[in-house]
């Protein structure tokens, strides 16, 4: 069985670790002191680049690379720590804020030193009242001890951290939505480019980083890049010649919920498989795994055929899904996928910020279609139509067979694909919320099509046995959605 490796969470349960004195006993702020004593800011940025650290907030973008886009000559530059944690199924940042806030402050200090940043805003979701209270108290202590404020520890650095409460809107987790919200406006995402690294909050260069990403920094500096890169797999990206390393290094705070016996946060090296994680979380609650959502509700679903998929950034991308925020939701054989999709679509319909027409109208439309199917009013066309596919002569065309049309399923797919097309990975919206809507909609429907068809046919929700409900990988284009360069797929 895979062992937990607690690094970020190592001292989480130490009593009073939220106070400066106890945190200090466990190497607290020593990594920051090491950074300022032994390294130049550029060295730290290089270490982060070499460590292969990828952002833990959702996009999985290389942190070092993001930092390299920030123009060094435009000041002030801001750091926004993304503590908005609203992706359904994700709850690891909450524990850091509530139990070990000084670790986050130390991470922020290291980032500020590396990037020459003087002001940090921590955007905390409005519901995290306890987390905000604990972090505010820790920040106050850090000011008193001289780790924040003017001339930090006599180094001449000026660093301020402020917390900023959100007010219950999911979209403020998107980095440009967060920036708008921080400026005191509606949290409606901006068009990119310009990217926040170049023009972010108050029109200045801005680094947006998730809580977990920042908490990795003290350990990279403290223990070195070599130690860090030993954890987790590094693949070869064969799109480049010669192949370049594609690191999935470090540990991940996997949040697992749903039908497992011991839901919770487990810190493990990146790269373990889905079934291994379920085992670590006390095993499945139920008889059989029906489906697993691997990266928060926005991620395409995995079926029981795909349980050996490794949970890291690269492997999940190749499996046409994503690690996202690392929120894993497990469903057992008693669950109805139509019902689950309905729940998720209600969420997205509620959270669309309303700026782009395809998202504003399309998302409630998708929800209404799924609602209709779940209520037993799904539309089925009894007329059969020619089935298109590869013909005997090996060309695309009329196969001579006929198929029944489930009008609502076609409609569902077409509406979803008009928000964002999951096959070509193009979106008709300002932000990738559009993809977060159509990914689950299309992947649930394609991979669990028999259950959707049954609901329409029978006029009520029917929960099929796992084997019957799931479309096998070889039979369906569901598993081929999303364009991935061929060379990369051979990896």
């Amino acid at each position: 069985m895979v062992e937990e490796r607690r690094i970020l969470y190592e001292h989480l349960d130490v009593p009073d670790i939220n106070t400066f004195d106890v945190f200090r006993q466990y190497d607290g702020y020593k990594r920051f002191e090491k950074a300022i004593a032994e390294y130049q800011p550029e060295d730290i940025a290089k270490m982060v680049m070499d460590s292969g650290l990828k952002g833990r907030g959702g996009a999985g973008f290389s942190t070092g690379l993001k930092w390299s886009f920030v123009p060094r000559d435009i000041k002030p530059c801001y750091l926004c720590c993304n503590a908005d944690e609203s992706e359904p199924g994700t709850f690891s940042n909450r524990y850091v804020l509530e139990k070990n806030p000084h670790l986050l402050i130390e991470g922020i200090l290291i980032c500020c030193y590396a990037m020459g940043i003087e002001t940090t805003y921590v955007y905390i979701r409005g519901e995290f009242t306890l987390g905000k209270k604990m972090l505010d108290a820790a920040i106050k202590e850090a000011y008193e001890k001289g780790y924040l404020g003017k001339d930090v520890r006599g180094t001449g650095l000026n660093i301020d951290i402020y917390t900023h409460p959100g007010a219950g809107a999911y979209i403020c987790g998107e980095e440009t939505g967060l920036i708008e919200s921080l400026e005191g406006k509606r949290g409606q995402p901006r068009n990119k480019p310009p990217f926040p690294a170049v023009e972010g909050v108050f029109s200045k260069p801005t680094v947006v980083q998730n809580v977990e990403t920042l908490c990795n920094l003290p350990f990279i500096v403290g223990n070195g890049v070599e130690w860090y890169t030993k954890m987790g797999p590094t693949y070869a990206d064969t799109r480049n010649d010669p192949p370049t390393p594609d690191p999935n290094t470090g540990t991940k705070l996997y949040c697992i919920s749903g039908d497992v016996n011991e839901p919770g946060v487990y810190e493990l090296d990146l790269g373990l498989t889905c079934s291994e994680l379920i085992e670590v979380a006390g095993g499945l609650r139920g008889e059989e795994v029906k489906a697993v959502i691997p990266g928060g509700s926005s991620a395409p679903i995995l079926t029981h055929y795909e349980l050996d998929t490794r949970l890291d950034f690269t492997s999940l991308t190749l499996a046409k899904s994503m690690l996202g925020s690392g929120g894993i939701i497990v469903m057992n054989e008693t669950r109805n996928i139509v019902d689950c999709l309905l729940n998720i679509m209600k969420f997205y319909a509620h959270e669309s910020c309303g700026q782009c027409t395809p998202c504003r109208w399309g998302t409630p439309w998708v929800r209404d279609i799924v609602q209709r199917i779940a209520d037993g009013d799904g539309r089925q066309d009894t007329i059969t139509r020619p089935k298109f596919g590869v013909t005997e002569s090996g060309r695309w065309g009329d196969t001579g067979e006929t198929e029944e049309i489930y009008e609502d399923l076609d409609l569902l797919e077409s509406v979803a694909n008009n928000i964002a097309n999951v096959d070509t990975m193009t979106w008709n919206t300002i932000c990738v919320f559009g993809i977060a809507v159509s990914w689950p909609a299309v992947s649930y429907m394609r991979k669990f099509r028999p259950e959707f068809e049954a609901a329409i046919r029978e006029g009520k929700l029917v929960t099929l046995p796992v084997a019957e409900a799931t479309v096998p990988p070889e039979e369906n284009y569901a598993y081929q959605q999303r364009f991935i360069p061929k060379e990369f797929a051979d990896l």
Binding site: E85, S86, E87, P88, G89, T90, F91, N93, R94, R125, G126, E127, F128, T129, L130, D160, Y162, H164, P165, G166, A167, G168, A169, Y170, S181, L182, E183, G184, K185, R186, G187, F202, C255, I256, S257, G258, D259, P263, G264, V265, I293, S297, G327, I329, M331, R335, C340, N343, I344, F347, H350, E351, C353
Partner: protein, 172 residues
């Protein structure tokens, strides 16, 4: 909504403590408008909900139009434009909580408080007649490991069952 059209009955102003907090807040940002969310939170804590008078006051303090404040207030679910109960009960109903039977908790609360569920545009619908409770559904509260969860004002309650809900309500 232009400034003249707002009918203000009793004007609003921060009390001394909140004024001090506001003065500290405003120094954190290069532009005053950026203090919008924390200021509105502060005002809502004092007044209970965001009245037209609050909006006018906040607009003056932050040197923006009332329309801009209204714009923000309507966007965020945590700002109320109508009175709410003394205790606001937020029941999470997103997928991980749904997999752990949040429906049972919700139905139990509905029956026990004898009220409907508030919608964002009709808070009165979910408020009990004595004005003590407002019941509403919210999306994932980032505590799915201890689902189902509810929040009562600022406090989170975990792993709920109808019995636990009874106990919590009795102890309020």
């Amino acid at each position: 909504m232009s400034d003249e059209l707002v009918q203000i009955e009793t004007p609003f102003a921060f009390n001394e403590e909140n004024q001090r907090e506001f003065d500290e807040l405003i120094g954190r940002y290069p532009i005053k408008e950026a203090a919008m969310l924390p200021t509105l939170h502060l005002a809502q804590r004092q007044e209970g909900y965001i009245t037209p008078a609050v909006m006018k006051y906040v607009a003056e303090q932050l040197e923006v139009t009332v329309m801009k404040v209204k714009d923000v207030v309507t966007f965020y679910p945590m700002f109320f434009e109508e009175p709410v109960g003394e205790y606001v009960i937020r029941v999470c109903h997103t997928l991980p909580c749904a997999l752990r039977d949040c429906k049972v908790v919700l139905e139990h609360l509905k029956a026990k408080l004898d009220t409907d569920i508030a919608s964002e545009t009709n808070l009165a619908k979910g408020t009990t007649d004595d004005g003590k409770f407002t019941l509403m559904k919210v999306e994932c509260l980032a505590s799915c490991d201890v689902a189902p969860v509810i929040m009562i004002n600022d406090d989170l309650y975990k792993n709920l069952t109808p019995e636990k809900v009874d106990e919590i309500l009795d102890n309020l």
